[in-house]
């Protein structure tokens, strides 16, 4: 990672600042004793992971469905989430058929026809992308692309930080 030419208004930069701040807070809150219980260790892991996911969700410029879903998931206690999810499933999996013979048409038929084998993979994708259950096909694909870009940035920065810490 090029440290000298980092654009201060880039996603990477915004995420790094937030995440570092969160890490500092996490560590200040509760210094780990050498005799930490497994539960405490897990809690710290959990806090760091949630801080990373939250920092990234906050750092995106345009309000994305996936980022809003991430924040919602991390801030809403699970019993309220279960109740809410009943209302969120709007008309999904709109089906269209097309008779275009070109390859592009074939791509679309594959994706949009319910009977095709892509149903399972689309469902999988919906589960992997935060908020995916409620998106229509177009948004799902678009959000997935953005989500992947942000995830790779997140991994890159976390790895850099971990490497820097382990040089100690």
């Amino acid at each position: 990672m090029d440290l000298h030419n980092l654009n201060p208004s880039s996603l990477k930069s915004r995420f790094t600042t937030r995440f570092l701040r969160a890490l500092t807070e996490i560590n200040a809150r509760k210094p780990i004793a050498s005799s930490s219980s497994p539960r405490e260790i897990f809690q710290r892991y959990r806090r760091i992971k949630d801080a990373a996911d939250t920092s990234m969700a906050y750092s995106v410029r345009s309000r994305r469905t996936w980022s809003k879903a991430t924040l919602w998931r991390l801030r809403t206690p699970s019993h309220r989430r279960r109740l809410a999810s009943f209302g969120r499933r709007s008309s999904l999996n709109k089906t269209r058929t097309t008779t275009t013979a070109s390859h592009r048409g074939a791509v679309v038929v594959q994706i949009t026809s319910r009977g095709g084998g892509l149903g399972v993979q689309l469902e999988e994708l919906r589960e992997l992308v935060p908020g995916g259950e409620a998106m229509d096909l177009c948004n799902l694909l678009d959000e997935t692309a953005h989500y992947i870009k942000c995830l790779t940035t997140q991994v890159q920065v976390m790895r850099t930080i971990a490497n820097l810490y382990s040089l100690e």
Binding site: T17, L20, A52, T95, L151
Partner: protein
């Protein structure tokens, strides 16, 4: 609750064009390291979606592994505030 079974009629509410969908699929394809080198007309949508799911799962696993590593690293260093400040100044 609205019905999820829309059958195979034209969905009037959706203004998605075939081109848009095909474009989005190829955009995804370009993002995934596994598929980046291939010519787009040789990779079908099923493969793109499958590799997308795999890639996202891998990324999730990396985040978990790095969180784990960071939690151990934080535990073993004493001067964290100082280090965080140094890191931040390096990265700005």
């Amino acid at each position: 609750m609205s019905s999820r079974r829309s059958g195979s009629r034209q969905s009037g509410a959706s203004r998605i064009t075939d081109d848009q969908i095909a474009d989005l699929v190829s955009k995804l394809q370009r993002l995934i390291p596994e598929l980046r080198g291939r010519r787009s007309d040789k990779v079908n949508a099923s493969k793109v979606l499958q590799e997308t799911c795999n890639y996202i799962r891998n990324l999730h696993r990396e985040v978990e592994g790095l969180s784990d590593r960071l939690s151990q690293l934080l535990a073993s260093t004493d001067t964290d505030n100082e280090q965080a400040a140094i890191l931040r100044s390096l990265l700005m």
